[in-house]
Amino acid sequence: MWRDLRDRLLRPLIRGPLTARHPAVAPSLPAAARGLPVVDPALCDASGACVMACPTRAITVTEQAWRLDLGRCVFCAACADACPQGAIALTGRVELAVRERTAAVVSTPITGGGS
C-alpha cells in the first residue's frame, strides 16, 4: 500500500512529466545522434567516394554541387565514413519534414576539386 503510494503517486509527482516539451523546447540529442548529413564545401573535392559508399544511392555529386536525396537517405553514415577528406558529418538536425517531395533533395554548392 505505502509502496504503491510512493511508486505510483508521489514519485511521478516529484519527477514531473517524462515527456519532452517539443516543439516548444528543442530536443536534446546525444552527441552520437545521426541526423541530417552535411558536407563542408571547402573540404569536398568531388571525388565521389560518398556516391559509391551510399547503399541507397541517395547522393549525386557534380563539379558544382553535392546533392542528397533525403527521401532515400537512411542515415547510416556510410558516406561520412567513406569520405577521404572527412568532409561529411551527420549532424543533430532531425526535424527534416517537408511538404513537397522535391524539397527533400538538398543541394550544397561546392567549389569542385577542393581548394
Binding site: 546525444p30 541507397t56 547510416c76 553514415a77
Partner: protein, 501 residues
Amino acid sequence: MSDRRLRVPAADLATVVADLLAGGATYRMLVGTDDRAVGGEGLAVEVALSTHDGPLRVRAELPHTDASYAALTPLVPAAHWDEREAADLLGLRPVGHPDPRRLVLHETFPDGFHPLRKDVPAGERPPVADGRWEAFTAHGEGIYQLPVGPIHAGVIEPGHFRFSAVGERVLHLDARLFFTHRGLEKLAEGRPFTEALPLVERACGVCTVTHALAYSQAVETLTGTEVPERARWARVLLAELERVYNHVGDLGNICAGMGFNPGSSRLGALKERLLQVNDALTGHRYLQAMIVPGGLRRDLAAGRVAALPVELDAISQELAAAIRVVLRSDGAVSRLSRTGTVSQATVRMLGGLGVTAKAVGIEADLRRDEPYAAYGELDVSVDTAHAGDVAARFHVRAQEAHDSLRLAREVASRLPGGAWLGPVGGAPEAGAVAMAGAEGPRGASWIWLRAGENGTVDRVRLRSASFADWPIVASAVPGDLVPDFPLINKSFELCYACTDR
C-alpha cells in the same frame, strides 16, 4: 564452418529431410533458388538443417520448365509457408501441398509472375490481376464471419484476420499477411554485400541488430573474415539491448491488450528509457547501422559504456517493480491465464521459435545451442514456462528481459578494447553459400546467402523468427473470444514487415 551439401532427386527430398529430422536434425528453412546466374541449369529447392555435425543443405535441382517436386509440408509442417513463398516468388510447384493458395504475392499479381526468377528484372510492374483471396472459413448454422483489418485502429502493421465465430467464441481464424512485401530480396540481388546490408537490416524496425548480425555473420563466413574481439563482445551488448527494449515494450503491449493502464504506461515509459540508452550509446534509438561485416561500423559512444552497468541495474529494478504491479492485480493475472493457449505438440509441429517455443517448455536458444559472437563465453540462461498461454509468454519475456539486462551489464563491464572493425576478406567464389542465424527478441532469424560474381549477392533469404511463428498465432485463437484476439496477438508480438520483406 564447413558447407555440407546433399543432392537428392526431387521426388525424394521430402522423405530424406523427414528422416534427417527424425534423426535429430533441426529444420532451419526451405529456400527456392534460380541457379542460372551461378552456372546452374534451372531452379532448385533447398532445405537448410542444423545437425550434430554442423549445418547441412539438402537440395533438389529442378528444370525451370517444370519445377514440380514432392511437397515437404505433409511430412514437415514447418515448411508450410516456406513452400508457398517459393511457389509465389520462383514458381516452384510443391505437389501435394495441403494449402496451395498464394502467400506472398496477393491475387492481384497475375499467374506466372515469379519475381525472383533471374529473367524478371527488378522493379518490374506486372499488370494488376483481379483474383480474389479465398479465406478458409467454418460453415454452419449460427456461424458468422468477422473480417478484421488490414487497416487497424492503432499504430500497428497491416494484416487481415478472418474469424469464423459462434457468438463471441472463435471457431477458426485465417490470417492474410504480406501486405508489406517490398521485394527486398530481389532488390538485394546483384548488389555488393555491403550495399545489400541496409536492405536486410531494415526489413523491419525492431529486429535490426538480429538481422544485420545474421547477415554479417553469413558474409563473414563466405569471405573468411575475422571479427575483432571488441566487436564480438559489442555485438552481444547490442543484441541484448535490442532484446530488452523489445521485451519491455511487448510486456507493456500485453497490458495494453487487456486495458491494464498501470502496466502499459509504466512499461511504456521504461521502454522509452531503454531507447534513450540505445540512442546515447549508438546515435540510434533502434540501434541501426551499427553492425557490418567485419565488426562494427562505428565504436560505441566514448564514455557511455562505463555508465551502463549502473543505468541498466536501475532499469532492472524498475522492470521488477512494474512487473509486480501487473502480477499483484488478480484481474490482470486471470485475464492472462488460460487465454491464447497453444500446445507443445502444435509448436513443435509448426516449428515455433523464441518466446512462443519457450512458453510451451521447448528449451531452444541459438545463443546457447550454436553460440556466435561472444555468447560462447557467457552464461546464457534459457527461460521456459509450460502453460503455453498469454501468461506463460508474459513470464518468459519478463524473465528473459532480466537475463538480458544481466548479460548486457556483464558485457559492458568486461568489454575489451582495441579495434572494432577489421578488414573483410576477398570475394568468395560465385555460387558459394553460407547460412547464419542470430537469436532475436522473437527467436532465431536465419540468413541464407549465396554469392554471385565479385562479392555480390546472388540470392539472399531472410527467414525471421516472426515468419516461423505466425502460423502458430492462428492456432492459439480458436476456443477463445473474439475480443481476446488483440491480447493473444500482442502476447506473440510478431513482426509483419520482416515476415513480408
